[in-house]
């Protein structure tokens, strides 16, 4: 009888705990920049939902807000509001360098119509809005997506 009670309690606590563990997954985003021969590139990495509406930002490479207006799609969605990238901002990325981000992404983003975007721009060079757009799906994990100007390729894996 006591064992049965113990097993029931264990089953209940497991049922309550497991759903919480399944809400997110560790993901690595890797952005390899091309040798474009200019200053460090600003990159805005953000997500839109299945209707194309802005869902949120994941990372901003580059810390001077006055240059954010050159990340034109991101600015269109956010109004250039720095609060959208508070606590998720780092240095710009140099020509030929790589940026690797390890983060826990919510499970709901995958196979649900969400798309990851990367806007890129560098000083005295052309803006490249949504240079990378890739649907967030399990099938796309590990697949490299080619950029057209600043980014050689981008991939995510989990």
């Amino acid at each position: 009888m006591q064992i049965k009670t113990l097993l029931s309690a264990l089953a209940m606590t497991t049922a309550m705990t497991l759903p919480g563990l399944a809400f997110a997954r560790p993901v690595t985003l890797t952005t390899n920049l091309a040798n474009y021969g200019g200053n460090g590139a600003y990159l805005a990495i953000y997500v839109t939902d299945s209707s194309g509406a802005y869902a949120g930002s994941l990372w901003m490479a580059g810390g001077r807000t006055k240059y954010y207006r050159h990340l034109t799609d991101w600015t269109k969605y956010t109004g250039g509001n720095p609060a959208e990238v508070a606590g998720i901002t780092g240095a710009s990325v140099g020509s030929g360098q790589s940026l690797s981000l390890s983060l826990d992404l919510a499970d709901k983003l995958f196979d649900a119509g969400y798309t990851l975007h990367i806007d890129a721009a560098a000083e005295d060079m052309r803006e490249s809005p949504s240079e990378i757009t890739v649907p967030l799906t399990a099938a796309n994990s590990g697949k490299a997506v080619k950029g057209r100007r600043y980014i050689s390729d981008f991939s995510y894996s989990f």
Partner: protein, 103 residues
């Protein structure tokens, strides 16, 4: 044409102001200020405003390019990673900022 028109208006204002002063009349405050501030600098500022009313002096005016903090005129820079929790946008499963590696 535009500079000529502005010059004419300023001259009229000045003339009217002096005439009023001579007659012992008080000018409205706005007109008084317009008369007092007429200068080449003012005229230059007017000429630099485009048809939308926006200054053509550039949106980086007052921003020091070497100022890493951005300055009040440029807007406060976003908080760097690790200093505050990431935005509560529902994307981060654990609420923690990404771990970044760049080479």
């Amino acid at each position: 044409m535009k500079p000529t028109l502005i010059l004419s208006l300023l001259t009229l204002a000045l003339g009217g102001g002096y005439a009023a002063h001579a007659a012992g009349l008080e000018l409205p405050a706005a007109l008084h200020n317009a008369v007092a501030s007429s200068s080449d600098a003012t005229e230059t500022q007017l000429l630099r405003v485009d048809s939308d009313g926006h200054s053509e002096s550039g949106d980086d005016e007052g921003c020091d390019e070497d100022d890493d903090e951005g300055g009040a005129a440029c807007g406060a820079p976003p908080a760097p990673t690790g200093s505050v929790t990431p935005p509560a946008n529902g994307l981060f499963g654990d609420g923690k900022a990404p771990i970044v590696k760049s080479n």
